[in-house]
């Protein structure tokens, strides 16, 4: 395993220390692994988080116009309720707190429990669950769809809403509306290695890619040979367009890298995605190309579409200033 680390068991703490050194406007609570804004404004607090290894998610989205606190678990492991509780406490300025949870049962259980603990302290807490990954069948029966890169749009739009001074219910409504309009689909080209494990969690052959693989290396829908950018754009977009009707609408587009895929390739993919979308008469209002929701050093990508109406568009365009996203 070639990683720039010290002790594999200390990667999260040392990373968060490195983040606040680079971003002195953020504060770090060691032990509970919470990053929050130093400068607090009276407004609905936004908290997200989850396992580490998805950088810049989630600490990179703490700042004006997005999250108020981010809670980190160990690599690919949900943070425990006491950590989330600390995040809630720090994000709370008396206006209540919205939790933005990705749909993994571990995350949901830990965030839910934290919510109960916070409510026992008299903090009003609401939560929304992001489940944008169309690789997985939606289901109320089982855990269902995973939350992946689309989560960043939820941070952005709910954050913008909260910045306007809106109530907790209003911010939650916007977050839910955003979630309803988001779909993502990804693809992996190389495996990733958990620092504490030291070897890749799965294998992809020399010319093999896995369509639909999750951001923790969860199995996707199909292993296949490497595709051209043209083919990939079609496969990923079509899976999204089959699931939700974006035809003729205006969207925000995210072409996300999983960590080891260079910007050159993401831009080439973006070039093809735009062509596919324009064939479907979809107008792209804003495009985000980069590493927004990663899976350690996995090579691969995901595509996310968010259907916009006037309200969502205004919130998307509202300024934000965080380490990983500035609008």
């Amino acid at each position: 395993m070639k990683k720039i680390i010290n002790n594999p068991n200390h990667v999260v703490t040392e990373m968060l220390q490195g983040i606040v050194k680079a971003h002195p406007e953020l504060q770090y609570f060691e032990g509970v692994e919470v990053i929050c804004k130093k400068d607090k404004k009276k407004k609905v607090g936004l908290v997200s988080g989850g396992g580490s290894g998805h950088e810049p998610a989630h600490a990179g989205y703490v700042g004006t116009g997005m999250l108020d606190a981010a809670v980190s678990g160990n690599v690919f492991a949900s943070p425990s309720p006491d950590r989330v509780l600390k995040g809630i406490q720090e994000a709370n300025t008396g206006e209540g707190v919205l939790l933005i949870i990705k749909n993994y049962s571990g995350d949901i259980m830990n965030f839910d429990m934290a919510k109960e603990l916070a409510e026992m302290e008299g903090i009003r807490v609401e939560s929304v669950v992001v489940k944008d990954d169309v690789a997985v069948k939606d289901s109320t029966y089982s855990t269902g769809r995973r939350g992946i890169a689309g989560t960043v749009f939820v941070h952005k739009l709910a954050g913008a809403k909260s910045e306007t001074g809106a109530s907790l219910d209003e911010v939650k409504r916007v977050a839910e509306k955003t979630i309803t309009n988001i779909r993502s689909m990804g693809m992996a080209m190389t495996p990733c290695t958990l620092p504490a494990v030291g070897k890749p969690g799965f294998v992809l052959e020399e010319n093999e890619v896995e369509i639909g693989m999750g951001i923790h290396g969860e199995p996707g829908v199909e292993k296949t040979t490497i595709k051209t950018a043209v083919e990939l754009a079609e496969i990923l977009c079509n899976k999204i367009l089959d699931d939700y009707d974006y035809e003729g609408s205006e969207v925000a587009l995210m072409v996300n890298g999983l960590g080891a895929t260079p910007l050159m390739e993401l831009y080439i993919l973006n070039n093809e995605v735009e062509k596919v979308l324009s064939k479907h008469n979809i107008k792209i209002h804003k495009t985000f190309v980069g590493n927004y929701m990663t899976a350690l050093e996995m090579a691969g990508c995901s595509i996310t579409l968010l259907k916009l109406d006037d309200e969502l568009k205004e919130l998307l365009d509202a300024p934000c200033d965080t380490p990983a996203m500035k609008v």
Partner: protein, 213 residues
């Protein structure tokens, strides 16, 4: 034989359980690697190590606060899914115990029932989802029936244990509906659920601990 569980006894049990879990490293890790993300043993072992480390402090507590404390410790140390599930279970059980200083078999039965209910509620799951519930739920049911039938403590505990083992084994052919195994293409079918295994170990050790004198 009539059992009585006080703080001292429960800590004795915790230490035994910690040893049992420690010894199960390879098997449990392998199960979670096949069906999940491979960390279940690490998680559980960290949790029980932490409890053993904290035993001096735990020894000073009454049974209710002890369970509450164990719940908080497991929750924050174990992490992942099982941390919050065990945490919720112990915290709910603490409420059932209240300020009682000792458990007899009936209270133990209520405590285990509170635990399984807490886990089902927290995990939004039920028996058949291929989880630790498939060990605990039938075990509690068996204990309840044994007590209703008027079996003595020893026999009732044996029934508890056997049902736990059977329950654990029953997860082998199940398809996962909850937890990470549900993202596997075969939903983990063909492999026992790791959480069901560690739950079973804890019940086995509990029964052993209670029956040993």
């Amino acid at each position: 034989m009539e059992i009585k569980i006080n703080t001292k006894k429960y800590i004795e049990y915790i230490e035994m359980a910690a040893k049992k879990i420690e010894a199960s490293k390879d098997y449990v890790t392998e199960l979670d690697s096949i069906t999940g993300d491979g960390d279940h043993w690490v998680n559980m072992n960290m949790g029980f190590e932490k409890l053993v480390e904290t035993k001096e402090e735990l020894a000073t507590m009454d049974l209710g606060p002890l369970f509450q404390k164990i719940g908080m410790l497991l929750m924050s140390t174990v992490g992942g899914s099982s941390g919050v599930l065990y945490g919720s279970a112990y915290i709910k059980a603490a409420k059932t115990i209240g300020d009682q200083k000792e458990m007899d078999i009936n209270l133990l039965c209520d405590v285990l029932e509170a635990k399984v209910n807490a886990i089902m509620e927290r995990g939004n799951a039920k028996p058949g989802c291929k989880t630790m519930i498939d060990t605990l739920y039938p075990a509690v049911t068996a204990l309840k029936e044994a007590l209703e039938k008027g079996l003595n403590d020893y026999d009732a505990l044996q029934a508890l244990k056997q049902a736990a083992i059977d329950g654990m084994n029953s997860t082998k052919d199940m398809e996962a509906l909850k937890g990470r195994a549900c993202y596997q293409s075969n939903k983990g079918a063909g492999h026992i659920d790791p959480g069901a295994v560690t739950m079973c170990y804890q019940i086995e050790v509990l029964v052993e601990c209670l029956c040993k004198e």
